[in-house]
């Protein structure tokens, strides 16, 4: 359990760094115009990025809160460890593509955001593709949770 405690501490540090980097990049982006094909679309991209950053930061803060509670309470830590290493949860995760789908969706999203500076059709296509991957994974997870 001591190893898991260290893993959680590392995760908290990584999440804090990611949050700070993401917010810094957004602030820099706000004050520096990288130039886009369509001026109206530029506002849309900025709005999308802001929404994404807010969701990401809220999600990470929620996770960090969960981790802090687990670090203070041995019972919560045990429960969290069992949740993560549970064989049924792992099986369902593997059946729904595991971390590969998440990694692919993340890469597609990043590519979509970058492409958004040059072409709005590519932005919508890649964002839609990312959304489709995540929704499919969630639906499959719900299905397998009911089945097993």
């Amino acid at each position: 359990m001591e190893n898991y405690k260290n893993t959680i501490k590392k995760r908290i540090v990584i999440m804090t760094v990611v949050c700070l980097v993401v917010v810094s990049v957004y602030v820099v982006n706000l004050f520096h115009d990288f130039g886009t094909v369509n001026e109206n679309f530029s506002d849309y991209i900025k709005g999308f990025q802001l929404g994404l950053i807010i969701v990401l930061v809220i999600f990470m803060i929620g996770l960090m809160r969960k981790y802090f509670i687990a670090l203070k309470n041995e019972q919560s830590l045990k429960k969290l460890f069992f949740e993560e290493t549970d064989e049924r949860a792992r099986m369902i995760s593997e059946k729904t593509g595991g971390n590969v789908i998440i990694a692919c969706a993340l890469c597609i999203l990043i590519a979509g955001i970058i492409a958004g500076y040059f072409n709005e059709i590519i932005f919508f296509t890649l964002t839609g593709c990312c959304l489709f991957l995540l929704v499919t994974r969630k639906v499959l997870k719900l299905y397998y949770r009911g089945k097993y």
Partner: protein, 68 residues
């Protein structure tokens, strides 16, 4: 796979949550095993059986497997 986990749990007056914590799994997994939706791995089956101080075959019904 049929099991006697529910009966053994009731004998010991244990909740699913308590059993799950004792054998290193989640309440949802214990529920799935009890309702025969999920078949536990050998390791988990061993842990559950050992927790109740029984043999694996006393907790899990292998009749279906033996037919093959």
């Amino acid at each position: 796979m049929k099991t006697t986990i529910k009966e053994l749990r009731k004998e010991k007056k244990l909740s699913q949550e308590e059993l799950a914590l004792a054998v290193g799994t989640t309440r949802q997994t214990i529920t799935s095993i009890e309702v025969e939706k999920y078949t536990a791995s050998l390791v988990l089956a061993y842990k559950i059986a050992r927790y109740f101080d029984k043999k694996i075959e006393d907790v899990f019904d292998f009749t279906d497997v033996e037919e093959f």
